[in-house]
């Protein structure tokens, strides 16, 4: 069957997420409103009510229950969807751990927003970063097209690996900003994303006790077969994350051949091969950094960008490869692990050390709680960083961009 040429819609990031969920033919949607995520689920509710999407929409009373419904529906064999932000994401925290431990291929959106207190509904990435260690794959998007593309890829990745995927996109900056997004037709999406083959089936002829108490050590079942202990299950989860380093690349490549558009796989680069300085960031900030790189080029500094798309699993080898020729690496984090530094900054340094690549790495905290960041400020930060003399001044402390104390 001939694939129709895609239509282009000028839509918000939230609507791009909803369009992807609709075309992924999700069976069950459960969500609770929170700014700036609400637009996704409003759009999906409208699709379900109008019959544009044949799904069960469950209006839950909390985010904890939103993920609870997703867990139940996924266990029973449905493709599910939810989205949240900030406090909502934190409220479903124990469920996030439960989902990953259950190896459920749940895909959720996170319209990134600052964590309270004090109240702040604007963008940074503290919410998703704070949920880093539950065992979810985290993919960050730089624009609305990438939100759409990444969601479709996320279902494929999740279902291939039996791992949940959180698709992160910056609140307001992307969630509420309209951009042109190419929307393929249903047949093309169906060809890329086949119907879910559930791993866990609620079947009374073959009843299972799913997620019972599991001891530290392996234990025999009724027929004398030694079955995994808790630690073996956890190792297999880590192994799946290692495999995800390949799967995220291969699914992006498949997507590119089907739709003519790549999202960069694990990470993407911008700028000259021999860039002297490389800026590193995730999400829309990395896009802004490409403009800063152009500004720096005009001043004669060869500058590039490394965009982190997959934050977990962290592509340490790809990161080291991308940064090995740079003299200086400047990491901009929109979140902070308090008492140390930006999480991407920390991970980049560890990756470089592990692969014995030794550019000097500087960290900047930027854009917390919606503080505006423009390309000029990023370029100025790079200029400041280039002037730092480690021999004279020691290791550069993490700087806060546009702090107005």
């Amino acid at each position: 069957m001939a694939v129709k040429s895609p239509s282009v819609a000028v839509i918000t990031g939230n609507n791009a997420a909803a369009e992807a969920a609709r075309l992924a033919r999700v069976d069950v949607i459960a969500a609770y409103p929170i700014t700036p995520q609400s637009g996704v689920v409003e759009a999906l509710a409208a699709y379900v009510e109008s019959g544009k999407l044949n799904a069960e929409f469950v209006n839950v009373e909390s985010e904890h229950s939103a993920m609870g419904v997703c867990i139940g529906a996924a266990v029973a064999g449905s493709r599910v969807f939810t989205a949240s932000s900030a406090n909502g994401l934190a409220y479903m925290s124990e469920q996030l751990s439960w989902v990953a431990g259950s190896r459920l291929p749940i895909v959720m959106g996170c319209a990134n927003r600052a964590m309270s207190a004090p109240w702040n509904v604007l963008n940074d990435q503290q919410d998703a970063m704070s949920q880093r260690d539950h065992g979810w794959i985290q993919l960050y998007c730089r624009d609305n097209q990438e939100i759409f593309d990444t969601f479709l890829q996320a279902f494929r990745i999740a279902e291939l690996l039996s791992l949940p995927v959180m698709v992160c996109y910056d609140g307001f900056i992307l969630s509420h900003t309209v951009m042109p997004v190419e929307i393929p037709d249903q047949a093309a999406v169906d060809a890329f994303l086949p119907a879910l083959t559930p791993q866990i089936i609620v079947d009374n002829s073959d009843p299972r006790n799913i997620n019972p108490v599991t001891l530290a050590n392996p234990r025999e079942n009724g027929s004398g077969t030694l079955c995994h202990g808790y630690m073996e299950f956890r190792y297999l989860m880590q192994e799946a994350h290692q495999e995800a380093l390949n799967t995220i690349e291969s699914v992006d490549a498949e997507y590119a051949s089907a739709f003519g558009r790549s999202s960069g796989g694990l990470c993407w680069t911008y700028g000259p091969e021999d860039a002297e300085v490389i800026m590193v960031a995730a999400g829309s900030l990395a896009n802004e950094a490409t403009v800063a790189a152009d500004l720096l080029e005009e001043t004669g500094l060869r500058a590039g960008v490394l965009g982190i798309r997959s934050y977990r699993p962290f592509p340490d080898a790809a990161v080291a490869r991308a940064l090995k020729k740079a003299r200086r690496v400047i990491v901009f984090d929109k979140s902070l692990t308090y008492g140390y530094g930006g999480p991407i900054f920390i991970d980049v340094q560890a990756a470089l050390f592990r692969h014995q690549v030794t550019p000097e790495v500087h960290g900047y905290i930027a854009g917390l709680g919606g503080r505006d960041i423009n390309a000029r400020q990023l370029a100025e930060a790079v200029t400041e960083s280039m002037g730092w003399d480690r021999a004279q001044q020691g290791p550069k402390p993490t700087s806060w961009l546009n702090l107005q104390l």
């Binding site: 469950v58 009373e61 229950s65 266990v75 449905s78 799913i210 997620n211 019972p212 234990r219």
Partner: protein, 304 residues
């Protein structure tokens, strides 16, 4: 007519030799619950004594599918299963959530209230052993006035317990019932009825606990029966808003021959040091409740 024990199906769905404590009433109750479900259900279970009864990976004492879930999310996970089965057009099995009193009345009440307000197609069964027994008998909102627990060690609980079925009735759900392992025929009939209804059904089971209430393991059924015969636990159902006393409680209403609350509590170590004034308050609470419920029963069932 209440189903006679001899008429119960012979098929067993809870296997013997499970990990529940000696004399645990939950095994008795759910043996009959699963018979009434004819094994055609998926059970959703949060952290609770029932988790212990089910056993540890890779063995299980339950021959029905069991989906374990986080403590607060029983009704939400059950809602998800129910939504998925509906989407798949599957009507072969019922979604049955099973939680203790803490998992129902305390940490689980938000999700339960949400599921009830949505009138989700599921049966939620609370087994009420009146404290957090799985973690070592800490006080819950369902612990009765005066009862000693490990978190009310000296004076006993200072507050009355919640009336969860009344909270559920306020959600206008189609079926609410109470039942006791001391009266398995009545319990069986109610689960059997609930199984074939649609929408959100709630059942509240009395669950005497030898380990936490401090009575001999051999006395579980006697204690369960005394709870009903004293009127402290009332057997009734509310079907589409229609209230009806059932089984032993119906006969108690007619004859007004309840044993005293003091007699019901006398064999229980958790009340051993409770003073007479507190026992008198509990008796007053029971008497006041019975004035209300007998009036309601005879008003709504004029011929009975």
């Amino acid at each position: 007519m209440t189903t006679n024990l001899l008429q119960l199906p012979e098929m067993e769905y809870l296997l013997p030799g499970n990990r529940a404590c000696a004399g645990c009433s939950i095994g008795i109750a759910f043996r009959h619950v699963t018979k009434a479900l004819d094994g055609k259900a998926v059970l959703v279970v949060p952290a609770s004594c029932f988790t212990v009864l089910c056993g540890m990976y890779p063995t299980s004492s339950v021959t029905l599918p069991v989906v374990n879930c986080t403590f607060p999310s029983t009704a939400a996970v059950a809602s998800g299963i129910s939504a998925s089965l509906k989407k798949q057009g599957r009507h072969d099995i019922a979604t049955v959530a099973i939680a203790g009193d803490g998992g129902t009345a305390d940490i689980g009440i938000q999700a339960l209230s949400g599921a009830a307000e949505r009138n989700t197609d599921l049966l939620f069964i609370c087994y009420d052993n009146e404290a957090y027994m799985n973690t070592g008998t800490q006080r819950s909102s369902m612990t009765p006035l005066g009862a000693r627990t490990t978190t009310t060690p000296n004076y006993g609980k200072q507050q009355y317990s919640k009336d969860v079925p009344a909270i559920m009735e306020a959600h206008n759900i189609p079926y609410i019932a109470t039942a006791s392992p001391g009266y398995p025929g009545d319990l069986y009939d109610k689960v059997y009825k609930a199984r074939f209804m649609t929408g959100c059904r709630y059942m509240h089971l009395s669950a005497p606990c030898p380990a936490g209430w401090h009575f001999p393991a051999a006395d579980t059924v006697t204690v369960a029966r005394n709870a009903v015969e004293s009127g402290a636990f009332v057997l009734y159902e509310i079907e589409n808003g229609h209230f009806r006393l059932t089984g032993k409680s119906l006969r108690l209403a007619e004859k007004d021959k309840r044993i005293s609350v003091g007699e019901y509590l006398s064999g229980q170590g958790r009340f051993a040091k409770t003073d007479d004034d507190t026992i008198a308050l509990l008796q007053e609470q029971v008497d006041a409740r019975w004035t209300e419920i007998t009036a309601r029963h005879f008003q709504e069932n004029p011929g009975s």
